[in-house]
Symmetry: C2
Subunit: 454 residues, 2 copies
């Protein structure tokens, strides 16, 4: 049964296989059970990348290099040609055949802008650090960690100044946690505008963050009686500032210097970021350089003229900080094409800024009927949760939706329910905190598009 007999054996059996395949119906989860053709996702991806000028297989070299991959010759038989040698020192890159990228929402300047995670390419819950979404107001600051200082002052017994080495000597914690920009989906309130889940939902990502509890730092400075809020200030050219309730700061905030097992990435605030679990991304101040304790919020630009929620009666709600429960199907999703009926796994992500996801239901008929999806363990609070749902597509029109419930009992609303409360009064419709159920329409020829009104 060894190598000598292998070629003959495979040849003989695979001849039979082609005939037997169609007759084979043993495993209802088999992709062959009803549809022999492979899933068309890869073909879509290459097509769309080619349209963007990234290039297409079988000549991926230039594009792969531009995307940071080491590029090697591809042997016709990799068992007959040695691979490339292991380097004495290395920091590895992905395969030259992989092309997923963050993509920028085309704001008027790339200095105040955002890029979005390709959720359709994601697997599991960890977002590769190189694909974590970005949102900056004055570009990505370049800071030498040896020069960086954190000041803590205001209503404290003793103001403090910390180097990065000082902070790394405190007791540490790690936490798998999502971040989400409160502007995620901002163009989608009134009508569907974006083709892909990257652009409808890609302002959220999950990393394992490591740092020091903010309570340890505040306890060392000593909080004065009457202290109720703090200001966090970034060290970038935007000097981003936001106010945080002191109770939240003492409960679970932390100062992160680590992300996915290494230093924080530059675009995530290297060398230091304030983490505010479950609160809108913007308040998780990057390049953190100053914390000022006070008895009232500071009413900064980013919590008065921006990052507020205008309601139908003309009043705006401030400090709507927690991100409510939300979910989205990432595959199949917008701009993919299914090339024939049969089995495919529906999968996606669910998350809540209030706690853990308790359940996710999936509908393939636009919300008329729902069935429970499986949640991938571990299901962690304030972390992306991967859900999976087995689907036999019968080839008819379908509308795919997911709906999550978090452990406070909150149920993700339909877009209609959300608009009934929030209205469409904001400058682009109601800009922030869109957490409605997403609908993907599947046509009889397998095309998947972003739709409303289901």
């Amino acid at each position: 049964m060894h190598r000598a007999s292998y070629e003959a054996l495979v040849a003989e059996r695979l001849e039979r296989e082609a005939l037997e395949l169609a007759a084979k119906r043993r495993d209802p989860l088999s992709p062959y059970a009803e549809a022999p053709a492979p899933f068309a996702r890869r073909r879509f991806m290459l097509g769309s990348l080619a349209a963007l000028g990234v290039g297409a297989l079988p000549a991926p070299r230039a594009s792969a290099q531009a995307l940071g991959a080491a590029v090697h010759d591809v042997p016709s038989d990799p068992t007959k040609t040695p691979g490339y040698p292991l380097a004495d020192e290395s920091y590895g890159t992905r395969s030259q055949f992989e092309t997923a990228v963050r993509r920028r929402f085309k704001t008027s300047t790339p200095l105040s802008s955002w890029t979005m995670t390709p959720l359709e390419d994601g697997m599991g819950v960890v977002t590769p650090s190189g694909l974590h979404f970005e949102r900056s107001h004055a570009g990505t600051a370049v800071i030498d960690p040896a020069q960086h200082r954190l000041y803590v002052h205001g209503m404290v017994d003793e103001p403090r100044k910390y180097t990065m080495n000082d902070l790394k000597r405190f007791p540490s914690l790690s936490r798998l946690m999502f971040l989400e920009c409160s502007g995620n989906g901002l163009t989608e309130w009134a009508k569907p505008t974006m083709a892909t889940v990257q652009f409808t939902h890609g302002l959220t990502s999950t990393s394992e963050w490591t740092g020091v509890p903010l309570s340890a730092i505040l306890n060392e400075a000593g909080l004065r009686p009457g202290a109720k809020w703090l200001l966090a200030e970034g060290g970038d050219a935007a000097m981003m500032t936001r106010s945080i309730p002191l109770a939240k700061a003492m409960q679970d905030c932390f100062l992160a210097y680590g992300q996915n097992g290494e230093a924080l990435r530059p675009e995530q605030g290297y060398p230091l970021r304030l983490m505010v679990p479950g609160y809108e991304g913007n308040i998780n101040i990057k390049w953190l350089r100053r914390i000022e304790v006070s008895d009232a919020p500071f009413m900064t630009r980013e919590e008065t003229s921006k990052y507020t929620d205008l309601f139908p009666d003309g009043k705006a709600v401030q400090f709507s900080l927690a991100m409510e429960a939300k979910s989205v199907i990432t595959s199949p999703s917008g701009a993919m094409t299914l090339d024939g009926p049969g089995f495919r796994e529906i999968t996606g992500l669910a998350w809540s800024g209030r706690g853990a996801i308790r359940r996710v239901d999936v509908s393939t008929d636009g919300g008329r009927t729902w069935r429970r999806a499986a949640l991938q363990a571990p299901v962690l609070p304030i972390c992306h949760t991967r859900f999976r749902f087995p689907w036999q597509w019968d080839g008819r029109e379908a509308v795919l939706q997911s709906r999550c419930v978090d452990d406070t009992g909150y149920v993700q609303p339909t877009l209609g329910q959300l608009i009934a409360v929030r209205g469409l009064n904001g400058p682009l419709g109601s800009v922030y905190h869109l957490n409605a159920i997403q609908s993907w329409h599947v046509t009889t020829d397998g095309k998947v598009t972003n739709v409303h009104d289901y």
Copy 2:
């Protein structure tokens, strides 16, 4: 209390701070409680990298570029200079100031060799994919995923051939899981030979892997009566082959195409790797191209002449597949220097191929007394678990050790206990499956070295 008053306020208060710091003793976990000097770790790292020719701050540019970082000008005041713009398409890199690398154990050829994860730089449990250890027997194969096929044959009802797209249509799973080469620490049996934890323990890493359960594939092929083992064969030039008990294959093995939220990295077997949870790294066949089902093990080179354990009586044990419970303190660890007494957090990793870590104890006196360390949640089976232990170093000689217990009740042995059973008969002493307690000696001047005999 806003920006205008900030400079004056900080200046005035920080003047007082210097005097008050020494008198301040409020928080027993404060790094200032007994020792004002910062931890010397960064200084050590730069020193050791300089010795290796990587270069040192403040001129990190060439080295950073060589290590794959985008390099930018460093402004004197990042609040006065815009950062760099967000790219339309990007796959981000780490900061130009970060220099952690995998390092190669200097085997005679870099084609059959291994590189080791810098565990001393790790945070949390996820290993950055670029720093995941490598072990290859014929270099890193370069495989076009569109051309790759997996054959399943032997004692099955119908042989099968799968493309990568076929496999991605099956139901999927994700799992945070460690891998460890059974040769991890192979030179350390008889005497301490390596200076750093990277070289004593760096052949283990954790990723979130995604793929398809092997049972789904085997069920589709149909197992014939009497089937008991399978052969997994790699598609690299080594054509690495190992035998796996069928019971294990059906229990929890899976075929991974994803790692940390993106495609498997090339050096981890792109595009497809067999995952055998808790078993020695070598059996997790990379570049997987063939699975052959049989009624007996195949007695391949890598489970007869290699990867066996020679005992004192001259007999060798084959198929010692599960990795037993093991732990190591990663900070402080070998070649670091503590620059003065005071608080520092002892932290490290524990893992078991048999299940979850139940507890970790830490000794600072060479094993005479033990105290329980805190385990970072979530504590997952067959996954690195981060432990933390607060330590006030009194400036005297110390020997730091960690000892873990897994949820089968297995207790990590001392080196003496392990040698009493295993002997030192292997070609380099007993090469494989060294899971003894590691000792780090701290001298009164703060130097940390790798020692035995404690």
